[in-house]
């Protein structure tokens, strides 16, 4: 009896395993696909409330799912699962989420666990300061209070920069981006080092956007991509091709304009982030290279 139970359990596990490997077959059987979304990842992926989501990556994913529907030959029920930085990778691995459309950096450590679609967005780490501060470069931040957000790669970036250049920042850590921006706004910090899109988004939503500006050199670039399960060649090809076609037929540039340059819901503010050179380069040559390859350049 016990042996039978174990056999059944093993068979059940094997089934789950087999399903998890082939997303296209899985969604065809289930008749539904689960999209992982973020509650507030700038204009890339965010909630409008009421279980509705929007954003640049959200819309690209909708196009990919459109092509999935064509491939499996039936209409799919699209389910949304809100994810966080902490749980997004396990949820993709265990099959809860089929395609994660947030703001996940593609790096080699993560490529051991998951796969990434062709890079759609390249993030540049920048410095935001008060417009009247006179700071124009990272060199001027020596011994100044520099804010950044706990749980982001910018913290490590600052640490490495300090060591490499022998200069010292007084780091202050916000518990989230809104908090870090408040540190800058309230004068507890002289600068806020973070991904450009997040800085632009926070400035756009500030009481007086003209009081702040983004200055200085690009401190680092990171490819941000849509995340899917590892070793699922068919699904990856379909998603990669979708992204490639969007770039080719100019829709990608239109989507950029829509989400980063025009007023977006719910508050109808403009992020005002021009298409960066790094992102243009990634589009010119669609690839799923990890962040480490970008750092080498």
């Amino acid at each position: 009896m016990k042996k039978q139970l174990i056999a059944v359990a093993v068979a059940a596990l094997a089934c789950v395993g087999a399903q998890a490997e082939d997303t296209l077959a899985k969604v065809k059987t289930a008749g539904s696909i689960t999209m992982g979304v973020r509650d507030s990842s700038g204009a890339l992926s965010y909630t409008l409330g009421d279980g509705k989501y929007a954003g640049f990556h959200y819309e690209i994913c909708q196009r990919i799912i459109g092509n999935v529907e064509k491939a499996v030959g039936k209409k799919l029920d699209v389910k949304f699962q809100s994810v966080t930085s902490q749980n997004r990778i396990p949820l993709v691995q265990n099959g809860t989420v089929d395609i994660e459309c947030g703001s996940t950096t593609n790096n080699t450590a993560r490529q051991k666990d998951v796969a990434f679609v062709n890079t759609t967005y390249v993030e540049e780490v920048r410095i935001a300061v008060k417009a009247n501060s006179g700071i124009t470069s990272i060199a001027q931040l020596k011994d100044k209070n520099v804010a950044t957000t706990t749980g982001t790669t910018s913290v490590q970036l600052l640490r490495k920069h300090e060591r490499a250049n022998g200069i010292d920042f007084k780091e202050v850590f916000g518990k989230d981006h809104a908090d870090s921006f408040l540190l800058l706004d309230s004068g507890r910090a002289d600068a806020f080092v973070m991904d450009g899109s997040i800085l632009a988004g926070n400035i756009a939503n500030a009481k007086n956007p003209a009081d702040f500006k983004i200055v200085g050199e690009v401190l680092a670039v990171e490819p941000i991509a849509i995340m899917i399960r590892k070793d699922d060649a068919a699904f990856k090809k379909l998603a990669d091709d979708t992204v490639r076609d969007l770039i080719k037929n100019g829709d990608m540039a239109k989507l950029w304009d829509k989400w980063f340059l025009q007023a977006i819901p719910p508050k109808n503010v403009k992020i005002g982030l021009a298409l960066s050179e790094s992102t243009k380069a990634a589009w010119a040559n669609p690839n799923d290279k990890p962040a480490e390859d970008y750092a080498k350049k």
């Binding site: 930085s85 902490q86 990778i89 790096n107 450590a109 993560r110 666990d113 706990t150 749980g151 982001t152 790669t153 913290v155 490590q156 640490r159 490495k160 300090e162 060591r163 780091e171 202050v172 850590f173 916000g174 518990k175 908090d179 408040l182 309230s186 004068g187 507890r188």
Partner: protein
């Protein structure tokens, strides 16, 4: 799921390993918790005692106000108020280091709860104890010092143990004001190493060890300070 515990030996980019960083973070957690505990005990004992003073309605009301103020506002909100809102009103506050803010924020919050325990302990004593002290000719201060407080303190040791363990765990809010303690380490290191489960397990173990150590210390105090025939009269109480 494969384990990768060697992640703790990796360099974090500044020349120290994640293990060294974690131990440093542990020290911060203990420093925050220890300092706040001192604040909480002193303030809590004073406020709790004031609430029971006979014939001093104004003082008792003020002590009541203290308790209600600090226990009715969520802890994270209090920390936020000290960190962002108070400096808006009094710019000098901007210079106060985050460590002091969180020690007093956490200390005051916990003091409200400890004050309640002291009051409960004092009021749990039979009235006869107070009357006996008065009959001896003790002043109010003397009767508190020599009769009421020593007994009340013994009664409240068990809840005080839980409260002290809670304080240690509550010290995780310090990450909100940029203190590099264990919770901040966990959030940051899991992002940098992508080995969240290992990092969180290690941090959980450190919290558990610290809290259990607090528990053992209190158990020892309880044992050493036991008054024969009081509370443990049946010989079965206590630890």
């Amino acid at each position: 799921m494969t384990w990768d515990w060697q992640v703790f030996l990796q360099d974090d980019g500044s020349g120290r390993t994640y293990l060294e960083w974690m131990l440093e973070a542990w020290r911060w957690t203990l420093a925050v918790a220890g300092s706040s505990w001192l604040v909480a005990m002193v303030v809590g004992a004073v406020v709790g005692t004031l609430r029971t003073l006979p014939g001093r309605p104004v003082v008792s009301a003020l002590a009541n106000a203290w308790v209600e103020l600090f226990r009715n506002i969520p802890l994270l909100v209090q920390i936020f108020l000290w960190y962002f809102v108070v400096p808006k009103m009094f710019p000098a506050f901007q210079q106060v280091p985050g460590f002091l803010l969180v020690v007093f924020g956490l200390g005051f919050f916990t003091s409200a709860r400890i004050a309640e325990q002291f009051r409960a302990g004092i009021q749990a004593l039979p009235k006869g104890q107070r009357y006996a002290a008065m009959a001896m000719g003790f002043t109010t201060a003397q009767s508190y010092r020599y009769v009421i407080l020593p007994m009340a303190f013994r009664i409240i040791l068990p809840p005080l143990t839980s409260e002290s363990m809670n304080l240690l765990k509550n010290s995780s809010v310090a990450f909100a004001v940029s203190i590099a303690e264990l919770t901040m380490f966990a959030m940051q290191a899991q992002e940098e190493t992508s080995r969240g489960i290992e990092v969180y397990l290690a941090v959980t173990a450190l919290y558990a060890i610290s809290a259990f150590a607090v528990n053992r210390v209190f158990a020892l105090i309880e044992k050493k300070m036991r008054v024969p025939g009081f509370i443990v009269s049946g010989g079965t109480g206590g630890h």
